[in-house]
């Protein structure tokens, strides 16, 4: 999928992930899709095995128009995704608080909307920061 390839490339260029990361993400998405149907603004949370990652990070992409992902619970169904939050993890079962905060963000559609409608990176970053780094 092109969106994921672009995001992976971006991470790879910066040395955040290893060369193998892109392939891992795409394969993983193929066999276990990560699109979440929220009945509002749909979100995808792609991630791959920790062995492909150098530095733990988050990579966020806002998609306009939406891109179809497969649904996590029903791989047959397509989900029109507006927001991709790629989890770049380095510890198995780790980053627990951060993961929970991401789920908290997905569940709060008003703030997801704010990210989608943001005019600049700063606004997006502010919302993401508020959810994931503060508190």
């Amino acid at each position: 999928m092109e969106v994921l390839s672009q995001m992976c490339e971006h991470l790879c260029e910066r040395g955040i992930v290893k060369d193998t990361y892109c392939k891992a993400i795409l394969e993983r998405e193929e066999s276990f899709p990560t699109g979440l149907n929220t009945h509002g603004i749909n979100v995808a949370i792609p991630h791959a095995d920790v062995s492909h990652v150098n530095t733990a990070s988050l990579c966020v992409a806002v998609l306009n128009p939406t891109v179809d992902f497969r649904a996590m619970d029903e791989p047959e169904d397509a989900v029109a995704v507006s927001l991709v939050i790629m989890l770049v993890l380095t510890e198995p079962h780790g980053h627990l608080e951060m993961l929970q905060k991401i789920v908290g963000l997905i569940q709060n559609q008003e703030d997801v909307k704010q990210i989608i409608n943001a005019k600049d990176k700063g606004t997006i970053e502010a919302v993401i920061r508020r959810y994931l780094l503060d508190v």
């Binding site: 993983r28 066999s31 276990f32 899709p33 990560t34 979440l36 149907n37 929220t38 009945h39 949370i45 991630h47 791959a48 095995d49 920790v50 996590m72 619970d73 029903e74 791989p75 989890l87 993890l89 198995p92 079962h93 780790g94 627990l96 993961l99 929970q100 789920v103 997905i106 569940q107």
Partner: protein, 134 residues
């Protein structure tokens, strides 16, 4: 509030409780009516997602917290969806985030995508607790 040793530990009010008997004693002081000492069986929950890393971690934590609130003693372990068929026999309940298609299991299966999207989250958690109280 994270167990120090995931397989044998339980956290209670922020304290790691090393074994099950201690957990029971602490619980008994508070919920004597609900728990009969020695009669409670530790229920085992297997949480599976594609990698056994990310979404299952979120779901496992929510299940632990919910069970603690409801006085249900559980051990929660995580695995990959691909490993489910070989592991399921040792558990009382299977909870998955993705669709489980990797074979047949004899234990009850609950899909918990709602714990990620928030839609129907409480209903799913209640369903899990109900299943474990059986």
């Amino acid at each position: 509030m994270r167990p120090l040793y995931e397989d044998i530990c339980w956290t209670y009010k922020g304290k790691a409780v090393i074994c099950y008997t201690e957990f029971l004693q602490m619980q008994n002081k508070k919920k004597e009516k609900k728990l009969k000492k020695g009669k409670i069986i530790m229920k085992r929950v297997l949480v599976a997602c594609g990698n056994g890393i990310a979404t299952s971690t979120v779901v496992a934590t929510k299940i632990r917290e919910k069970c603690e609130e409801n006085g249900v003693a559980v051990t929660v372990n995580q695995c990959k969806l691909l490993e489910v068929e070989s592991k399921a026999d040792d558990y009382d309940l299977l909870v998955t985030t993705g669709k489980f298609t990797g074979g047949t299991v004899t234990i009850p299966v609950i899909t918990a995508i709602s714990l990620l999207t928030g839609i129907g989250e409480e209903a799913t958690l209640d369903q899990i607790v109900e299943e474990l109280k059986k």
